[in-house]
């Protein structure tokens, strides 16, 4: 299914391309392919890199003359490389700081994290403080936050995952202070764990959380600071536990650079963005 969803629009796109190039007079066709030739280097955030790499793959398949090289190394490398001109485009998985305003940022997607509980759990609301206390084991029974008398199963993400980074960053948690009962890899595993354990608490990418909750998985998403956890609230900027995924450039983008950034923000790649549980930019 997953493959089909990805392949169908891709193949339609390819066929459309092929038809177009057939329809055009030969000289126009060569002209357009001449224009789109060359190499782009992207470096930076390891959160943005997989998404950028998928977008780059589709872009290359539509423009055979173009090569796009995507390298990771963290957001700060993205900023540094874009500034020094080592990379054509930097990848940064946060808003630019005030000291970085000399760069131009283009948001290609948003990332959000939602806290999830089992549907059988009567708790409807947790304050930020309560979530921090649960994750640092100061609260270890649901009774203490208005639930049943049952021990809390704390589900955490593996070290290095960007969801953990975003979660810890928002709640000012040090990852070494988190006391977990279960450590998971991908979002799906977290959702399955919470669905099977009425006393578990976890946090997952908001895209996969909302998909699970609306597709008969017995989980619920908790509001953060009174804002409902939903993709809509992430894309309109209201949800606090979210961040933009940015492409940054030193100067106003031109040529191939501009073409690729426009492509990465266009409707043509929204399926890739959703596939990786990121939130597409509102257009």
């Amino acid at each position: 299914m997953k493959h089909l969803r990805l392949l169908a629009p891709l193949s339609i796109g390819l066929v459309a391309c092929w038809l177009q190039s057939c329809g055009k007079p030969p000289e126009a066709a060569t002209q357009s392919s001449d224009k789109l030739q060359g190499k782009l280097v992207l470096t930076g955030s390891s959160t943005v890199a997989p998404l950028a790499a998928e977008i780059a793959k589709r872009y290359e398949s539509q423009h055979p003359g173009v090569r796009i090289d995507v390298q990771t190394g963290g957001s700060s490398r993205g900023v540094a490389d874009a500034r020094q001109g080592v990379a054509d485009i930097g990848m940064v998985s946060r808003s630019l700081k005030d000291s970085e305003k000399d760069l131009q940022a283009f948001t290609i997607a948003n990332d959000g994290v939602s806290v999830i509980l089992n549907q059988d759990n009567p708790v409807k609301n947790l304050t930020d403080k309560q979530i921090v206390d649960i994750y640092t084991d100061k609260i270890n029974n649901w009774k203490q936050v208005g639930g049943k008398d049952a021990p809390i199963t704390v589900v955490n993400k593996a070290e290095g995952r960007s969801t953990l980074e975003l979660f810890a960053d928002h709640f000012k948690l040090k990852t070494t202070d988190i006391r977990a009962d279960v450590v998971i890899g991908d979002n799906e595993q977290g959702i399955k764990t919470v669905a099977g354990n009425p006393n578990a608490i976890a946090y997952v990418s908001i895209g996969s959380g909302e998909y699970g909750a609306t597709h008969n998985t017995p989980i619920k998403l908790l509001p953060i600071e009174g804002v409902d956890a939903s993709i809509a609230n992430v894309s309109n900027g209201k949800f606090p536990l979210s961040r933009p995924l940015n492409l940054v450039t030193k100067t106003t983008p031109t040529g191939l650079q501009k073409e690729f950034i426009d492509f990465a923000r266009s409707k043509d790649v929204q399926d890739i963005v959703k596939e990786q549980y990121f939130v597409p930019v509102a257009k």
Binding site: T153, E159, A180, N197
Partner: protein, 284 residues
């Protein structure tokens, strides 16, 4: 006797193929060592034992909890699966009617063919919630041992079965002639004669248990700690690699390659043990 031209070509082709097959293992080993070298030079091997914990993003690299996790899960499942597998093979060979034995054998083969991720998925959505009701949180060393037992059971059962088939019929006739009962024959004649084959089976299942990743990752809980009880979550070396590889860079990535190298060393020890045991010929 001179070989025909075709035969010479065939022999050279076979030599080539053999070299390629052997070289693959060597290349992988060299690659692992190459990837870990910078880490061993910059940070050193002792950090794997002396660091406070495993938080590679904050440069803490204690691998011991994972090593213990791997050992406990493997030892537990081998201890449970070995008697189960051997005794079920005994039943199939010496007690069951032939028709039943045939059905039983194909069932075991079916068990061997189920992909590990299916076992893991079943464990995550069925087994772990059940364990969680008895003794929360659920994902635990216990769940890992149960799932792994299921997965390595076919290995030992099928190897034991094949080993029993190899025991010389003369021994069995001799035992019958002495008036031994069936169980006395199995215990006194078959087991000693099949010893090396059964040990090979144990080593094969141990190798499979150490290397298993997906299922263990899904049911063990993956908390970095040395477990104090069977219901506590553990993380194995394989799960450690699978969990963190996608997001690891720099020293973190190299540390994961060291986990891989440790796993490889464990397997090498097992293979050597298996080879040594097989040197003793029992059937001549």
């Amino acid at each position: 006797m001179s070989q025909s031209r075709n035969e010479v070509i065939l022999v050279w082709m076979l030599r080539g193929m053999a070299i390629i097959s052997g070289a693959i293992a060597l290349v992988i080993l060299l690659f692992l060592i190459w990837e870990t070298l910078p880490f061993l030079q910059n940070i050193g091997l002792t950090r794997f034992f002396n660091d406070p914990s495993w938080h590679p993003v904050s440069e803490e690299f204690n691998l011991m909890p994972m090593l213990w996790g791997s050992l406990f899960v493997t030892a537990g499942s081998v201890l449970v699966a070995t008697p189960l597998g051997i005794l079920s093979a005994v039943f199939c060979h010496y007690y069951a009617p032939p028709a039943l034995a045939k059905i039983y054998r194909s069932l075991i083969e079916l068990l061997a063919g189920i992909p590990s991720v299916v076992y893991g998925f079943w464990g995550l959505v069925v087994l772990v919630p059940i364990i969680g009701r008895i003794h929360p949180p659920g994902p635990s060393l216990f769940a890992g041992i149960l799932i792994l037992t299921l997965m390595i059971l076919p290995t030992i059962a099928l190897v034991a079965d094949a080993t029993f088939a190899n025991v010389s019929a003369d021994y069995l006739r001799g035992a019958t002639a002495l008036g031994l009962g069936r169980w006395a024959m199995v215990r006194g004649v078959v087991f000693p004669a099949a010893k090396s084959g059964l040990l090979t089976g144990v080593i094969l299942e141990t190798g499979r248990a150490i290397g298993e990743t997906m299922a263990v990752l899904m049911v063990c809980g993956n908390v970095v700690q040395v477990p104090k009880g069977v219901f506590e979550p553990v993380r194995t070396l394989t799960a450690n690699i699978a969990l963190e590889m996608a997001y690891a860079v720099g020293n973190h990535r190299a540390a994961l390659f060291v986990s891989g190298l440790i796993l490889m060393a464990m397997i090498v020890v097992l293979v050597i043990a298996a080879e040594t045991i097989n040197q003793g010929h029992l059937y001549d």
